[in-house]
Symmetry: none
Subunit: 200 residues, 4 copies
């Protein structure tokens, strides 16, 4: 019979951050008030400041944790020595898994990254974006060189196409939905790699 007492500190933080992420994702960072987060967490606005320095430091922690995990997955893929097509497949699948696990964080990242990145504190967002571009664009270039991808495309356009295509899914994805992240990845890859048209 568990006592209904307060959980230990790091767990509590995580709990609160998850709550905050949900609210941020639903309403937008700026449109979310600290009071709304506190309400959702069942406490008073001021009480949040026992755990966090500021509203800003909450998004900060949410985004940083997400990017850490994301890059752990990406790095594993990139160091696996796969061919270009298999790398793209693995990156897309990894991305949808990340969306599945951290939907709220991904949605926040999508909507607020550009705005937040203007502040020095969030410099790592810009950094991450660059690393991201190098990884995807590099793979595409390799694929063209190796004759696996079409040569008649503007690769920067293709990169943006891929990137957006994957991440925007966070805005509508629901974990309890019909498809598993792997299934969604498979469908996306089918479209991205081979197109929606039947070869005539």
């Amino acid at each position: 019979m568990e006592p209904t007492t307060a959980p230990a500190s790091p767990d509590r933080r995580r709990e609160l951050l998850d709550t905050a992420a949900e609210v941020f994702a639903a309403q937008g960072y700026n449109a979310t008030t600290v009071r709304q987060i506190a309400d959702a967490a069942g406490m008073l606005a001021g009480s949040l400041y026992y755990h966090f320095d500021s509203k800003e430091s909450m998004v900060d922690e949410i985004l940083a944790a997400f990017l850490d995990e994301l890059w752990a997955g990406y790095d594993a893929v990139l160091e696996a020595g796969l061919g270009p097509r298999e790398t793209i497949e693995a990156l897309v699948t990894e991305s949808f898994r990340e969306i599945d696990r951290h939907r709220a964080a991904v949605a926040i990242y999508q909507k607020e990254a550009r705005y937040l990145a203007t502040q020095p504190r969030f410099g790592y967002l810009t950094e991450s974006r660059r690393k991201f571009e190098r990884a995807w664009l590099g793979t595409l270039e390799r694929g063209v060189a190796e004759g696996v991808f079409r040569a008649d495309l503007d690769l920067r356009l293709a990169y943006r196409f891929l990137r957006d295509t994957v991440w925007v899914a966070a805005s509508w994805y629901r974990p309890e939905g019909r498809h598993s992240p792997e299934e969604i990845a498979r469908q996306y890859l089918a479209m991205v790699l081979d197109g929606i048209a039947l070869p005539s």
Copy 2:
């Protein structure tokens, strides 16, 4: 005896709305203060209220004007009696033209529609989203029925894929960029219809 120096009122409104749209797109609706808009327009915050009822009515007018124009184009395409593939091609091209003309409005729509749609005043956003879905999803279904599009796809997924793919472009598109909207449309269609992979 009207003085000829005073600018026609509707022009001034348009001018101010364009300015506001630019700022909204750059900073987000909530993060934008009325004063920032006024600064950008070279006037004081209070003076904007001679032209507009409220900050809300500014986004309202911006979005409504954009959607009006968009649907004029879409409706023309949908009533032209084209085949499914040609319809998709025309809709995508039309969309990129719209992005070219109303980049700021499209960017605002992308970022804020979900949040704004919760208010009754912006009910037309939800309505438009539904019409949108009917148009695209219907065309896809027709394409599958006619054997022009692949039958092994979850069409709702494909719809979202198409929709996001096109509109997210507003977040990075720059009118002075390398490619014309038609050229971008062509590239996107190449990827979407036939995939980025070379047929093996």
Copy 3:
């Protein structure tokens, strides 16, 4: 028949700063709320922010204006080529005049300078204190060298004695009081220069 309209901007600022100075002097900077200042000025707390950036910038302006005026007077004295005793007399008189004109500002300076000086923004307070010390201590040293002042004193102690003696007066001085600033200066100088004891 004057209309009871709002006065022009720079005057209004001065008015508000005078009000603020009075409240700060009476209650202490930290113990004073922006609301109290606004109340005293007959407006709402938020309205003060039309005129000033922050509570801090209010003290800043108050103190800076006071020190500017003070140094104008001091510099005139120091450049007049007076003997040490006459210089001390003139500085003391000038100080009491300043207390008479800017009682609140002087009181704030006395109570809050040390605390405020820890912030970079108020660096000029430290600077002013140093300049102050050079002026007074230098005059005392000159006086000892010329045989006008006693040689058996620790001059740093004497400097502090003089300095405090003069400025603390701001904490009890009332402009409508019995004595004019010049008369108070005369009495202080009598005590400081010749002592309160009768020569035996």
Copy 4:
């Protein structure tokens, strides 16, 4: 069976009060947070409330203890039947000894007494000030009557001059400094009684 490790409670209180006094003196009562005191004492803010009722009761105890000790010394001097000049000398010396022993408390008294005295709880501050005035002013008057002090001074001014002159020293005094309290008293008395100027 009391464990011998637990420190006697009154000692701990004293220790904490000394710590608190130091912080209050350095930052001002209002600008000091309970947490800063707790930090300085190596405990958490809430823990202080095991020892004290409130922040207010801390200053209260600090000031009351200081005034108790001060008046013990003053009363001894006043009842010793000394002449006016010797009384002044003894009071000044006693005061500097008090500054030496309770620098922080004296500094707090100097800066905060006026503000605190507005609350009923600190009524003894006002009382003490009155007693103080009677003691010093009475001695001065006696001195004038007996021909020991100059008759051409406004005695209320002289009183304030003496009072401030002595106590403000608490704001710069450092116990480890060059001069003993007795030496400082001697120098102050030399200035106050006989002036800084050489008799011409």
